[in-house]
Symmetry: C6
Subunit: 81 residues, 6 copies
Amino acid sequence: MENQEEDYLPSLITATPFEGRQLAIKLARKSIGAIQPDAGIRQQLRAAYASDTAQLIASAQVVAVEFQTIAQANNYWKTKD
Amino acid sequence: MENQEEDYLPSLITATPFEGRQLAIKLARKSIGAIQPDAGIRQQLRAAYASDTAQLIASAQVVAVEFQTIAQANNYWKTKD
Amino acid sequence: MENQEEDYLPSLITATPFEGRQLAIKLARKSIGAIQPDAGIRQQLRAAYASDTAQLIASAQVVAVEFQTIAQANNYWKTKD
Amino acid sequence: MENQEEDYLPSLITATPFEGRQLAIKLARKSIGAIQPDAGIRQQLRAAYASDTAQLIASAQVVAVEFQTIAQANNYWKTKD
Amino acid sequence: MENQEEDYLPSLITATPFEGRQLAIKLARKSIGAIQPDAGIRQQLRAAYASDTAQLIASAQVVAVEFQTIAQANNYWKTKD
Amino acid sequence: MENQEEDYLPSLITATPFEGRQLAIKLARKSIGAIQPDAGIRQQLRAAYASDTAQLIASAQVVAVEFQTIAQANNYWKTKD
């Protein structure tokens, strides 16, 4: 493995589409964590975006792209419908 | 399931393309809700983006990506045409 | 159907690529309409973005993603060339 | 056809990848034209974005998405290599 | 060919993923050049974005989309691994 | 090879999804490095975006697109589950 970060992504496969949504949100957050590793700074920054609609919308855009990848990986959970 | 949030996405399959649009808008909104879980704050924030064209356009971008995923999941509703 | 909105998307299939472009623009506009349902407000807002190049470019981005979905749905209109 | 606009997109198929680039740029411009149909206003606006690097980059983003669609439509011009 | 511009894209096929990255960066730059053809202006503008992190990130976004297209065209260079 | 830059991308194939995430972050950073090759300037600029939530979110967007490409290249690591 490239460096000793915690492996937070053993697989892209989830049991349900909803768990796929939760994984997409997790991946978006982990990207922010990888770019700004200081949890204290991230906590301070939360107030800055959590009530800034432009940043909430931009965050939803990241989730949408991550979810598309996860949905493709799970064949859109079709086999499990 | 990861946490006790309401499972708002049992399936990506919808009866029609229009229901796919409505699901895409729902998913975009649910992402915002997951990032800013306080419904009161979200309600206050609505005025900030609902008449800000740049944010309306950015929201439409999120819907477009979510819809692409849903359309792929439904094979573009081709079998039902 | 989820709610009593007008079903503006009976199908993603169009006769020509050009009609696919027009549908993409329509879908982008319908997203804005779903997020800001007040037609009067939307009309007032039009001046704000229609001569703002950054917002015109952002709108073109939405159209490009919607068009990609429509083009995929129509198999890039290859069978009709 | 939906309205009497000029059909500027008879096909997504181009002879070469370079013509695909040119078509992508054309489609991005046509989207702007569809949203702001007044050519006079568009001409005035050109100065606003043509030396604004953020808007030039955003325009390149639109071209990249349009080009991806065109490249998929042409099977990445692989058969013609 | 549409106009007498230099054909800078004879093919999307590259020998390696790294050359695919270089081509993606080249395509992003060529889009800027097509929208702002004046090399002198582009040179002056370079300082504006080359130390503006928001614009560097937006440029990386364009490269990511262009690279995705190139990677798809080369079947992710799998056959050459 | 186009120029004498270090070949930082011998392959898109990674052993695990997590290594795919790390590669996506690396590719996003390499794009910034290719556009702003001066490491000193990049180091100075780090403070500007590392605590700017809008830019952290925009960076996460780049990672999401790069990761989608890498996940497609690795067939979503399905065979290795």
